[in-house]
């Protein structure tokens, strides 16, 4: 057996065969991200009268494994906007560092005034991220995320928009990524189908809708968790709670579900 230090902790060649070094070659064509690895599931958000509410659970999955159960996926930008990340977590961390840099530059812009005037608002930030993600897709090296951006636009109206890994972007009174677009969006549309409806919602109602949606997502989405973060963006700033627990769960309905799994119908 090989006792040299460089062999410590490695699989033994005489047991497992020689290691296939072909994976580590740095010749050949450059490969960019082909698939996300560690992922976050749905982010959901809804506009209300005076702002926007956003939520995402605290789980980062490794395939179907619930690998990291304490990952915060909502990020505050300049105390005035919130970005919710779904998709690849390492790309989220890259974007997080990039946005930190951007916000520092922005803060240096006008150190004398402490007002928010002149700083990047949510609409500016959304436009910027859209260009960034579209640029990366054109490089065939996409940032594997779908983002929701919440805050206020230049006219101080609540703003909510989405960008995905291809740079596709749109806005809506309510938005959801991933499974949420199938499971949560229909529920949110019951309360805010149009901008007019959203403008009638109170903050309490909006938070309630979001909590309800998070619960439905936890019931139905196998990559989700019952610990989540929720952010409320108002003109005064961002209130972010990062360690919320889903309340009043009832799994009674589960018994009724038949047709797959181990049961015989």
């Amino acid at each position: 057996m090989d006792h040299r230090p460089q062999a410590w902790g490695r699989p033994r060649d005489d047991v497992y065969g020689a290691y296939d070094h072909s994976y580590l070659q740095n010749s050949g064509p450059r490969q960019a991200t082909q698939a996300p690895i560690v992922t976050g599931t749905s982010v959901i958000a809804i506009k209300y009268k005076n702002g926007v509410v956003m939520a995402a659970d605290n789980l980062a999955s490794y395939g179907s494994l619930a690998r990291f159960p304490d990952v915060k996926r909502l990020r505050v930008f300049l105390d005035s906007s919130v970005i919710g990340f779904s998709g690849d977590v390492s790309d989220m961390q890259f974007l997080d560092r990039h946005l930190t840099e951007l916000s520092i530059d922005e803060a240096y812009e006008d150190p004398s005034s402490d007002s928010k005037a002149g700083q990047l608002n949510a609409a500016n930030l959304h436009k910027y991220l859209q260009k960034l993600l579209y640029k990366r897709r054109n490089d065939f090296d996409p940032l594997w995320n779908q983002l929701l951006i919440a805050g206020f636009d230049g006219d101080s109206k609540p703003y909510l928009a989405s960008v995905d890994l291809r740079g596709t972007s749109f806005t809506s009174p309510s938005l959801a990524t991933g499974f949420g677009s199938a499971l949560a969006q229909p529920i949110m549309r019951r309360y805010a189908a149009t901008e007019e409806d959203a403008a009638k919602l109170s903050r309490e109602e909006a938070v309630e809708v979001i909590k309800e949606c998070m619960k439905v997502l936890y019931y139905r989405d196998a990559r989700s968790l019952d610990r989540y973060s929720i952010a409320v963006v108002t003109k005064e700033g961002v209130e972010l709670k990062e360690d919320e627990q889903l309340e009043k769960q009832s799994w009674a309905f589960a018994e009724q579900i038949k047709g797959y799994g181990t049961q015989t119908v």
Binding site: E109, D110, S113, A117, G118, L120, A123, N124, K127, Y128, K131, G154, D155
Partner: protein, 265 residues
């Protein structure tokens, strides 16, 4: 006989700590015809004297729009100004494209400042032979900046550069306290009066040799402000303003304002 050995390039200091090439560039600014800029709480104006190379030629433009919200007045080498102006236009457009907003004026001015400074520190380059007054509005309101070939930029309440501009500056200093609360028309009249101070004995302001430009923010009925785009006025459009500051017409419109007694008699 006594050749100056320290003015061959812009990278060599003289023993007195001066860089002659940069000082010569500043001298080129003084050869250009005079331009005046004033900023109030709501507006920024630029006014300029245009020169014609000969009796039969047209007058060289002095005021240029850069973007919706910024414009410049130039004194010195027009061709150098063109390079800077094109650069500023590109930067403003790029910023609009990536962030979806008007570029903050200070950011723009800092950019040309850095660009011009590089020319004073590299062998084989020469400083720009032009000075600029940059007027614009952003989320912080109206701004006026001075730019010098050395790369120095500074925010000003009111300023004049170009030939005989000292006379205009004296007028501006004398009336400094009045500017902040001036409306659009008042500000233009102050600008033209300052311009007149700089004129040579038997020259006067005409519709051919006078340019006026305005940018500002206007209060809406609902209390919000709306930017008023940068606009240059030439020819017949400036005749009313010229008449309102004419020596013989001084008494009539000026007393109607209840001000204007502040000009020296």
């Amino acid at each position: 006989m006594f050749r100056n050995n320290y003015d061959n390039d812009s990278v060599t200091f003289s023993p007195q700590g001066r860089i002659f090439q940069v000082e010569y560039a500043a001298e080129a600014v003084k050869q250009g015809s005079v331009v005046v800029g004033i900023a109030s709480k709501t507006h920024a104006v630029l006014v300029a004297i245009k020169r014609n190379a000969e009796e039969l030629s047209s007058y060289q433009k002095k005021l240029f729009p850069i973007d919706e919200h910024v414009g410049i007045a130039i004194a010195g080498l027009t061709s150098d100004a063109r390079v800077l102006s094109n650069f500023m236009k590109q930067q403003c457009l790029g910023h609009r494209l990536t962030y979806g907003r008007n570029m903050p004026v200070r950011t723009l001015v800092d950019m040309i400042g850095s660009k011009a400074q590089i020319n004073t520190q590299h062998y084989g380059k020469r400083p720009y032979g032009v000075g600029l007054l940059v007027a614009g509005v952003d989320d912080h309101g109206p701004h006026l900046f001075e730019f010098q070939p050395s790369g120095m930029t500074e925010e000003m309440v009111a300023f004049a550069i170009g030939a005989r501009s000292q006379m205009a500056r004296t007028y501006l200093e004398k009336n400094l306290d009045a500017f902040a609360d001036c409306g659009r028309e008042e500000l233009i009249r102050h600008g033209l009066k300052a311009l007149k101070e700089s004129l040579v004995q038997d020259r006067e302001l005409t519709i051919d040799n006078t340019s006026v430009a305005i940018v500002g923010v206007e209060k809406q009925e609902d209390g919000t402000t709306k930017p008023q785009p940068f606009k240059v006025y030439d020819g017949q459009d400036v005749s009313a303003w010229i008449e309102s500051v004419a020596d013989n017409a001084e008494a009539a419109p000026a007393t109607a304002e209840g001000e204007g007694m502040d000009v020296d008699s």
